[in-house]
Symmetry: C2
Subunit: 366 residues, 2 copies
DNA sequence: ATGAAAGCGCTAACAC
DNA sequence: GTGTTAGCGCTTTCAT
């Protein structure tokens, strides 16, 4: 309750470590130790210090701390586009976790622009972030390698530059995408198309490869015309489904490299006579919040933001505070799983037959 | 191109002002002045300094600068929810502008939680941000007033605590909402409902008031049953339209306090037999990116993120650097305007008659 | 276990 | 106009 005093006519309330020391009748070194919970401090003295801290309303000056210790307790978080709905969810969770663990976070988006990316990294370095999580699912790795000290703590998704203090979040695309393809195949689909992300991104390529592999494992062919490159945006999804719709025969199902693409597909199809899922089943990837609310609710492969964020923060800390790291793991697995909603059903033309069966079964019951 | 040297075995490349001074054969004070573009430095010396800066790869240490100058060059930006699509667009623009003007930005979301808000402000203060823009459209003003020095630079939207160094972004709700109501009335609507935001937020109340005023000015009644309180979320919009749909007679148009609510309305109606806009016209507010891509594309009142962000950054700087402020304005107007898309049309039942007229007019022309 | 003192890298008086 | 110097608030040796 004690109001902080002002040291001068300045705008900041400056209660320094000295004020605490004076009040607790100890040296500033002891205050520093007590506040930083150094275990060798006498418990009684520590208590006195904490009392004084409360009385004068002392808050350690982060800048000074950072200056002398060389550590800012700021984590850098780089995303592609903050306006892509996937990322705010990630940012939110990352921030919650970081703050809970005593870190602040500095966010930036690359907007897929190399120059902007470079500026961003420079800015982060200049603010001496303790480490950076690069969650762009693909980035010019050279930029990082050029700007950053070799042993700077770094986290990448899927793949990153070859650096000693880097940790990789290994998303298990195969798992979820296999589930999606099997779900579709089980419904009877054979003609399944895939709308990829920009293939220069390794993560986009990985998703497409997972799709091809899953299809091949089921003995299903994927003709080139069923592999369309999108750009992970709603607009891209609309453009991609238009291409697919222009084919002599529309595939009966399409899986998309992310949810925004799938939502674009939904929108693109809305303008045609095709209905989802009756005429074509649509599967997304990511499971963003919005996926539950589009029409129909989107069947999608969930890649948990929460686990991604948690792994990122943990992995960064492991790089920053090696002393606290449990295991020296350099790869952190991230699971993916299919979430079935309403955008997938039997291939068109097959449903009536099934319905008839079901009806007769029901009739038999009664 | 010169590689930065390491001072010790540390991870940071430490090129200090001293290295530059040595290299340029001047004092560190001169380096400081040159780098900070103090005009009294001899041009030749300045040139030598800059040359040395480039040669040794000097980057000023932000922490030290902040420590001694008391200014961090960080702008705080508080939003309600980063996952609400309106905000990422704002954040993006705010960040672009701030960075372009030499500031970094520290973002945080309140999630409408008072305790979280308080922690957030404490964190920002502890990182000694130079000012804070509170873009939540309503917040516990007491928290701010309690935590912050009286003359701390602050920006609020619509209304804020009574503090000397505060600037208000005054959104002209009347303007855009009047346009929306007039647009609807011109189409022939009389039964126009309004789904508000949470009314404890001043800005939500302001939008509702603007609606009532516009209606009254046109001599249109707004029965209580046509005023539903939402919560500015998609889910809230769905719930609200359900209430409206349960009425003996569905209004012919509904205007919503924000776009997410309107999108919720669209989704809620999709599950009924009512069609938008044939059976009911829907108007949003904000004009988020998504508004163009829902089905049908949303007629909405645009409140430009860009102008909001630009005004916020400018207003903050005016508070932080009074010496650079052009005018000592304390209120910054933000315009709003109707953007007509496809979610509004004539009231149900009237279109056929009009169509017939149009057809005969056309026939007459030919 | 505690204190004195040396800086971290920089800016801003203050002298010249 | 330039240099010298005193800190900003803190952590961390190094003595004790």
């Amino acid at each position: 309750m004690a109001a902080p005093r002002k040291s001068s006519s300045n705008r900041r309330a400056t209660v320094s470590i000295r004020d605490v020391a004076r009040r607790a009748r100890v040296s500033i070194a002891t205050v520093s130790r007590a506040v930083n919970r150094v275990p060798t401090v006498d418990p009684d003295l520590a208590k006195r210090v904490w009392k004084a801290v409360a009385e004068v309303g002392y808050v350690p000056n982060t800048q000074a701390r950072a200056l002398v210790s060389g550590r800012s307790h700021i984590l850098g978080l780089i995303v592609s586009e903050i306006t892509n709905p996937f990322f705010p969810e990630l940012v939110q969770e990352f921030e919650n976790l970081a703050v809970a663990q005593g870190y602040e976070v500095m966010i930036g988006s690359t907007n897929y622009d190399a120059e902007r990316t470079e500026q961003l990294i420079r800015r982060m370095l200049q603010r001496s972030v303790d480490g950076v999580a690069v969650m762009t699912f693909g980035i010019e790795e050279d930029i990082i390698k050029r700007l950053v000290e070799p042993d700077f703590p770094l986290v990448f998704v899927d793949a990153g530059p070859d650096l000693p203090n880097i940790r990789l979040l290994k998303v298990n695309y195969d798992e979820g995408i296999r589930e999606a393809v099997q779900h579709l195949a089980a419904l009877g689909h054979r003609e399944i198309a895939f709308i990829s992300g920009p293939l220069r991104l390794r993560s986009a390529a990985a998703r497409r490869d997972a799709f091809r592999k899953s299809m091949a494992d089921l003995g299903l062919a994927v003709p080139a015309r069923h592999l369309v490159e999108g750009d992970h945006t709603l607009e891209g999804g609309m453009a991609a489904i238009e291409k697919l719709a222009a084919l002599p025969e529309l595939p009966t199902a399409v899986v998309c490299s992310n949810d925004m693409t799938a939502i674009g597909v939904l929108h693109g199809l809305f303008r045609t006579t095709y209905k989802v899922p009756e005429d074509i089943s649509v599967v997304g990837f990511d499971d963003i919040h919005l996926a539950q609310f589009v029409l129909p609710p989107l069947t999608t492969v969930q890649m948990s933001c929460n686990s991604l964020a948690a792994a990122a923060v943990q992995a960064l800390r492991a790089g920053i505070e090696p002393e606290n790291a449990r295991a020296p793991q350099s790869e952190w697995p991230i699971a993916t799983h299919l979430v079935v909603r309403r955008s997938t059903t039997f291939p068109r033309g097959t449903l009536p037959a099934l319905k008839r069966k079901a009806a007769s079964a029901k009739a038999g019951k009664k």
